[in-house]
């Protein structure tokens, strides 16, 4: 793409009506792989893969827990990257991405916490263990809730989105620091607990469904966020002509 080609694409991509129309088609390209991958991961994870020799069948929760834990991190990093784009190039699409991605990321972080706790009960005997990963996941959930609360608290949508962009950037810088300090704290606290996935090396047929699940969840995240963006876009541009045009005859 030559310089001007990219610039034209960048501005057209940035223009909201274009995004609103095109995103309907893109959604399909995200939904199909999501369904296929997650379907394969669930079917394989629940039926095909033999039970773990240590934990038996309860380890099958991994096929939900790890993909959502991966998604919680992926989502927040994506929000921070969009934050940089929103603040540096003042691209409205990036602002809208952050606002749409936050609730999705938060719900998958919550899902990772719940499935981790459910899985922890039979393994360690208590629902909540101050395990390094679970604790970092909990703090990550608070970071997400902070972004969502900040967006709802600020009146004007533009300022709210840009404030969330900045908060996401500050947050993503702190995520590794928080994780490192929690790991230091847990190793100091009670010695290294057995990590959730157990020390055993994952052999191939257990691993493939996991990777497929993680990829499938990422596509799902993209699909959900895309729909969230369309709603945000309509809300922020509700008074503009292009929305009227598309809605009245749409």
């Amino acid at each position: 793409m030559t310089g001007t080609g990219f610039k034209r694409w960048f501005h057209r991509f940035g223009s909201l009506p274009y995004f609103y129309d095109v995103s309907a088609r893109w959604a399909v390209w995200l939904a199909v792989p999501a369904v296929v991958l997650i379907g394969y991961a669930l079917v394989a994870g629940l039926f095909v893969v033999p039970p773990d020799y240590q934990q038996g069948d309860v380890f099958r929760i991994i096929y939900i827990h790890v993909p959502s834990a991966w998604l919680s991190l992926f989502g927040y990093t994506a929000m921070a990257v969009a934050g940089v784009v929103a603040l540096v190039w003042r691209l409205k699409i990036a602002e809208i991405f952050i606002v749409a991605a936050a609730p999705v990321g938060a719900s998958f972080t919550f899902l990772a916490l719940v499935t981790g706790a459910i899985w922890g009960e039979p393994t360690w005997g208590t629902y909540w263990v101050w395990d390094a990963r679970l604790t970092s996941e909990l703090i990550l959930l608070f970071l997400y809730l902070g972004v969502i609360a900040l967006h709802q608290a600020i009146e004007s949508p533009r300022t709210a989105a840009r404030a969330c962009a900045l908060l996401s950037i500050v947050g993503v810088i702190n995520v590794p620091i928080i994780h490192y300090s929690v790991v230091w704290w847990t190793t100091l606290h009670q010695g290294s607990t057995v990590s959730l996935t157990g020390g055993s090396k994952m052999d191939a047929d257990m691993l493939w469904p996991l990777l497929a699940g993680a990829l499938g969840f990422t596509f799902l995240f993209g699909w959900l966020t895309l729909w969230g963006m369309r709603v945000q876009l309509l809300w922020r541009e509700r008074r503009s002509r292009w929305v009227m045009k598309r809605i009245t005859h749409g």
Partner: protein, 203 residues
């Protein structure tokens, strides 16, 4: 050092709602430009956008000093007078003046002298919460005499001023314009300054 401002099809507003039709204008050294428009037409929003505090909905504006793009030497006096009620007028003014690069050398004697000229000698060393609205406004406007800014944005400078103070303000604005400063101001009460241009904000 002469400053210039070029405004090109600028539209300002809040939460995606435009307040006025696209505006194109220039402000050069020695100009006194009045922004006219009834309440809510967007005068304050325009001034705050030109000061760099708000992002415009569309259109652009460019500051330049001696050809170089820069917004140095900008003075902005808006409705709230930047006066902490706990500090005295002298302390408040010296704090604000220290922010401008070209006026950080102003000493307390000059400040007290200017305040005296504005009839504020008695209250110069009392905490600003004890001052009346008119006295606070004159303290804020004292910056016109003390800071040698090349460009001034004034948001209703004559608010809460009595007749004598308005005369003094008008005379000072005229002197500064003749001295090469550029002034963009909005006002409700008439000020006898020769406006080189009037910008009418209409939808």
């Amino acid at each position: 050092m002469t400053s210039r401002l070029e405004i090109d099809a600028l539209v300002c507003g809040h939460a995606e709602r435009a307040l006025f039709a696209p505006l194109t204008a220039t402000l050069a050294a020695g100009d006194i430009v009045r922004v006219a428009g009834d309440n809510g037409a967007g005068k304050t929003t325009l001034l705050r956008t030109l000061a760099g505090l708000l992002t415009p909905l569309s259109g652009t504006f460019r500051w330049s000093t001696d050809g170089r793009a820069s917004r140095a030497g900008l003075g902005f006096i808006d409705h709230d007078n930047a006066l902490s009620p706990v500090l005295t007028p002298v302390e408040n003014l010296s704090a604000v003046l220290r922010l401008h690069r070209n006026t950080s050398g102003v000493d307390e004697f000059q400040i007290v002298h200017t305040l005296a000229a504005l009839g504020l000698k008695r209250v110069a060393h009392k905490p600003c919460r004890a001052l009346s609205a008119g006295q606070k406004r004159r303290t804020a406007l004292a910056r016109l005499w003390l800071a040698s800014c090349r460009v001034w944005l004034l948001d209703e400078p004559a608010a809460a001023l009595d007749q004598a103070s308005r005369e003094r303000l008008a005379r000072q604005m005229q002197i500064m314009a003749d001295d090469g400063a550029a002034i963009l101001y909005s006002t409700h009460q008439a000020l006898n300054v020769t406006d080189t241009q009037v910008i009418e904000l209409s939808r």
